[in-house]
């Protein structure tokens, strides 16, 4: 853990010797702990309250998703991807379906693409809401959690009406969408947008200018853009460090090319900036959804693809911008109905690696704040 080779490209902070030789305290945070968002276990080496070093122990939720994939057909594996980042199940499905479509060399019809964008962005909102609620709860602000859950409910209702599921939606199929939108879908989405616009302000009212909140998050868990890139950190964490990179813009997929939106960027790469970036991202998501609903084209929602999927031999890597960062699927096909190998590039897993860098020299309370701000989902970390 403390091997200097492990972090060459990261500006190294000299480790301070414990003061007065008081014995170091090694505490196990997790796997059962209220603030580790699931079953993350962090072994903290402390000098009083100060973190001298930490090590993540993960894998408590490992279900062997990649191995399962090798024993399922392409279609059968589709619901499994929802179980990885269960907070943003729709995004997972989008990434997987697009990757297989690419392998099949087909494309979803435009209407399906628009529906995909709407649902994915709604899911991004839901994911960010969950992040905000739990992050605030970790830092001690209890109330935002309930506000965000109240509003997340409205999104889940739309999901439920669309595909019958709330959390692990399995909303998309390879080649498009299984279902046409239900009657009043567009109205529901518009209603939600109108309902949610003031709610974001409400969250910000509770936190953005709150002195304690600012103190707890400013200059906490700072990570530079350079370190982010070296550590492979993506998503809002990368953008908060000043790197203006979003796969929706850099390598547009689905229908993102057709929408007008900004990439919010932070400056300091601290927890507060990450908070602001995510809040701004929620507003941008709403912009995208509004455009998508207004311009929803007519047409089929499913491309013509064979009943039995047998992609040609070959391999493909496709990635999308999930709420947590770059979510990639590397699929190797051997020409049979089952994938020869599927590799998921999980954003949470890679981002979690930055925890050690971000927490060096911090206090115990900062570790909690940083775990919250990384927005990890253990289902995705462990797969």
């Amino acid at each position: 853990m403390n091997d200097p080779n492990a972090r060459v490209s990261v500006e190294s902070i000299p480790e301070e010797k414990p003061f007065l030789d008081a014995s170091e305290l090694v505490i196990n945070m997790g796997p059962q702990h209220p603030a580790t968002h699931g079953v993350l276990r962090v072994i903290l080496k402390l000098d009083g309250e100060k973190v001298l070093g930490l090590e993540c122990v993960i894998g408590y939720l490992h279900r062997g998703v990649e191995k399962i994939a090798e024993n399922r057909t392409y279609t059968m594996f589709n619901p499994y991807v929802d179980r990885m980042d269960y907070v943003a199940a729709v995004s997972n499905g989008l990434g997987y379906c697009e990757a297989v479509e690419k392998l099949l060399n087909t494309e979803a019809p435009p209407r399906a693409k628009y529906i995909r964008v709407i649902l994915t962005e709604l899911n991004r909102l839901a994911s960010h809401q969950l992040w905000l609620g739990t992050h605030a709860l970790d830092i001690g602000a209890m109330t935002p959690l309930f506000y965000t859950f109240r509003d997340r409910e409205e999104i889940l209702k739309i999901f439920e009406k669309y595909c019958g599921a709330r959390l692990t939606t399995h909303a998309f199929r390879i080649g498009g969408c299984q279902y046409e939108t239900y009657d009043g879908f567009e109205q529901d989405v518009r209603n939600f947008l109108n309902f949610f616009t003031p709610k974001i302000d409400e969250y910000e009212e509770l936190l953005t200018a709150n002195r304690i909140w600012v103190r707890r998050t400013k200059n906490v868990g700072v990570i530079s853009g350079k370190d982010c890139i070296a550590l492979g950190v993506t998503g809002p964490v990368l953008r908060a460090s000043g790197v203006k990179w979003d796969l929706r813009k850099a390598q547009p997929y689905a229908a993102y090319k057709e929408f007008d939106f900004d990439i919010p960027v932070g400056e300091n790469g601290d927890t507060y900036d990450r908070y602001l970036v995510r809040m701004a991202e929620m507003r941008q998501s709403m912009r995208i959804i509004r455009q998508a609903v207004d311009g929803l084209p007519d047409g089929p929602v499913m491309a013509k693809i064979p009943k039995v999927l047998k992609p040609p031999v070959g391999e493909i890597y496709h990635s999308i911008e999930a709420p947590k960062g770059e979510l990639g699927y590397f699929i190797v096909s051997d020409g049979s109905t089952q994938p020869y190998r599927i590799r998921v590039r999980p954003p949470s897993f890679v981002n979690l690696q930055a925890l050690e860098v971000m927490c060096r020299g911090a206090l115990v309370a900062d570790v909690i704040a940083v775990i919250g701000t990384l927005d990890i989902v253990l289902g995705e970390v462990d797969r």
């Binding site: 007065l20 008081a22 014995s23 009083g48």
Partner: protein
């Protein structure tokens, strides 16, 4: 602890002229007994935390004795400073250091005989002073201080003993600065 409760509920700080304090000898022996037991525990316990807790009992007993001497202010200060402040810091430090070694070490080393002798000598001295000095210190009933005990202390501290008081505070200041200098690697 217990003593302070009893003191609060039963011992009058401003006794009316017609009433005697309740069961004074009983409480005196109770509190003294507590103090002695506490003191013994302080030196016999292997676990420093237990020793510190025993010391707290002793200090509380002392506070109770102050109350019985109609010195409520001193009793209160005793509790705030010694029990609430100093002993908490003691515990704080004890908890920070590694206790495992102290558990294995012997609590009495070879000088215990010398220590016992010294204690005996000191005890003998006390007894002799008590026996010989009875004439010097006639047994007077403790006269309850009229009115405000606290104000008397205040006027004494800031009147007669002003200089000593200020010297003491200066000493404390020096101690604080010294501690800061020692503890801080760079200032």
């Amino acid at each position: 602890m217990i003593s302070s409760i009893i003191a609060a509920a039963l011992v009058q700080t401003r006794p009316p002229a017609d009433m005697q304090p309740v069961a004074t000898p009983f409480f005196f022996y109770l509190l003294s007994g507590l103090m002695i037991v506490g003191g013994l525990m302080v030196i016999t316990r292997k676990n420093p935390v237990h020793s510190a807790l025993a010391l707290i009992v002793t200090l509380l007993g002392q506070a109770g004795l102050y109350l019985m001497l109609y010195a409520p202010f001193v009793a209160g200060v005793q509790i705030i400073l010694y029990v609430g402040g100093i002993m908490v810091l003691f515990l704080f430090v004890i908890m920070l250091v590694n206790l495992e070694r102290t558990q294995q070490e012997k609590s009495f080393n070879k000088q215990w005989a010398v220590g016992l002798a010294a204690a005996a000598a000191l005890g003998a001295m006390f007894v002799s002073v008590y026996v010989k000095g009875r004439a010097l210190f006639p047994e007077l009933p403790v006269a309850p201080l009229e009115g405000e005990n606290t104000q008397r202390i205040g006027s004494m501290l800031y009147g007669n003993y002003m200089f000593a008081f200020e010297i003491a505070s200066l000493l404390l200041l020096v101690a604080i600065i010294g501690a800061v200098v020692m503890a801080k690697k760079r200032i």
